[in-house]
């Protein structure tokens, strides 16, 4: 008891420190030079708002709300961070205003719904939901709402993934492995298979059977390097050098993952 008292007295001043507001290093609001999507509070009540909210749920908990179309442990948000808002993580506000668009992947002009089908098929290693399904309609409504006020027909800053300047040296997967061990394995695991919290996937797998397949956008080294450069390690975007981003992307690209379904169809 005497000990406790002593601790209490000794510890009291220290314990009180947080109660007096310290001089916060005035978190300077950054210049909003990226498009600012509307806030959650502005989602209207009624059927349109319901569709938007449903779209957001599918986007952030894809396995739970679009179960039969998903074939791996990822969600849309795994790559489109901040619920589809983060610049340089192919944000939905920039996507909505840039469709319909010609895509070299299938040589046709695609609508946004078709583009989303592509992410289901390749990035989610699943089955594309029909264009008129509630799943696609909700996701398109979510993107539409987020793009409110965005200029149509010009390239928006932060749209798409970051385009890497060409690497000066050829990407080196061996050096990439050491970058991976030092900066990525903490969360994605030494074996790339991600980390769980109880029964839930917490950090998504970056390769292996539960990751995106070989037909996905990130299965191209340049796209992957651009994604990593601006977004990883989580909360430390833009902290790897360009060369480190190229190298770690080359390392990840060498690992196994599900095949491209377009090849699997004709063996």
């Amino acid at each position: 008891m005497k000990l406790l008292l002593r601790i209490l007295i000794l510890g009291l001043p220290f314990f009180l420190i947080p109660m007096s507001p310290p001089l916060s290093p005035a978190a300077k609001a950054e210049e909003p030079d990226f498009f600012q999507p509307p806030s959650d509070k502005e989602i209207p009540p009624g059927p349109f708002g319901d569709l938007v909210r449903r779209g957001e749920r599918i986007f952030t908990k894809t396995g739970q709300f679009a179960t039969r179309y998903v074939g791996n442990d990822l969600t849309c948000e795994s790559c489109h961070l901040d619920r589809g808002r983060k610049p340089f993580a192919a944000p939905l506000w920039a996507a909505y205003v840039s469709y319909p668009r010609f895509r070299a992947k299938n040589h046709k002009v695609s609508r946004l719904g078709e583009r989303i089908q592509g992410c289901f098929r390749f990035s989610m290693n699943g089955t594309p939901p029909p264009l008129h399904s509630e799943t696609i309609r909700s996701l398109v409504a979510y993107a539409f709402w987020m793009s409110r006020g965005a200029p149509v027909g010009t390239h928006m800053k932060g749209g798409g993934m970051y385009r890497m300047p060409p690497s000066r040296l050829p990407p080196d997967p061996f050096h990439g492995k050491s970058v991976y061990t030092a900066r990525c394995a903490l969360c994605h695991g030494a074996d790339g298979q991600g980390t769980v919290s109880g029964h839930d996937v917490a950090f998504p797998p970056v390769w292996g059977p539960r990751s995106y397949n070989k037909g996905a956008g990130l299965a191209k080294v340049a796209k992957l390097a651009g994604f990593i450069k601006m977004n990883m390690p989580l909360s430390k975007g833009d902290s790897l050098s360009d060369q480190e981003a190229w190298d770690v992307a080359a390392f990840i690209d060498r690992q196994s993952r599900p095949p491209d379904p377009r090849n699997a169809a004709t063996p």
Binding site: I17, A27, L186, S197, A202, L234, G237
Partner: protein
């Protein structure tokens, strides 16, 4: 010609050789840890962990001592080493853990990782307005300031992602707030890649208070990564 009794003897021998020593080693470690938790190391001036963390690891909100029951053994050991090596400034703990050997640390970490404790009563009731602000930061982040949702790294509802990401749900609020300040003002520098320092620095003081209130208002998980079983059990 196999002699059944020989087989029995042989398998008993094999079991002794392989499985029992491992289980036994675990047990010995647990018991050694429990002893340190209950009575200290026996060295002069050694204080038992239970004086501040309780025997079952529930912590003591009144003195800002954290709950540690069910955190991963790797995390617990990492924090004690941090205090010993001075990468984590913790004046109340420093003297206590100064003389712990690596073996002692392993033992006491194993012990506290295995025990379970309900939430210990808080010093004050949650502030509903702050809890709401905290919930939004915890679940959605403040990406304009490059702050991801806390739950991305601390697990759904803050129940931890073992072994490196501690649970923060049900932790006491005074402790949570002080850690955020320690990270922000670099008194705690033991976080991998400085992940937590950057985030804590970018939060305003009001936001730090809000997330502390929010996570303290939740039920703690029985162990890192496990779902909380009972909602809001408040045993002292």
């Amino acid at each position: 010609m196999t002699n059944p009794s020989l087989l029995v003897v042989l398998s008993a021998f094999l079991i002794c050789c392989f499985s029992i020593p491992e289980a036994q080693a675990e047990n010995v470690l647990f018991e050694a840890g429990k002893k340190i938790a209950r009575a200290g190391t026996g060295k002069a001036g050694s204080i038992a962990c239970m004086e501040c963390h309780r025997l079952r690891g529930g912590g003591m909100p009144s003195i800002g001592s954290p709950r540690i029951a069910g955190q991963s053994a790797i995390y617990i050991a990492h924090e004690i080493l941090g205090v010993q090596q001075g990468t984590r400034y913790a004046p109340m703990m420093a003297g206590v853990v100064r003389d712990l050997s690596r073996k002692d640390i392993q033992a006491v970490a194993r012990y506290y990782a295995s025990v379970r404790s309900p939430k210990v009563a808080e010093i004050s009731p949650p502030d509903p307005a702050l809890v709401e602000i905290g919930r939004s930061i915890a679940q959605k982040g403040l990406w304009k300031k490059n702050i991801p949702a806390c739950v991305l790294c601390h697990g759904p509802d803050g129940r931890g992602i073992p072994p490196h990401f501690p649970y923060i749900a049900g932790q006491n609020k005074g402790y949570l707030l002080r850690q955020l300040l320690s990270f922000a003002f670099l008194k705690r520098k033991d976080d991998p890649q400085g992940l937590m320092r950057g985030i804590a620095r970018r939060l305003t003081h009001e936001e730090r208070k809000a997330v502390a209130e929010y996570f303290a208002s939740l039920s703690p998980p029985p162990a890192a990564g496990k779902r909380a079983e009972v909602q809001g059990s408040h045993h002292p």
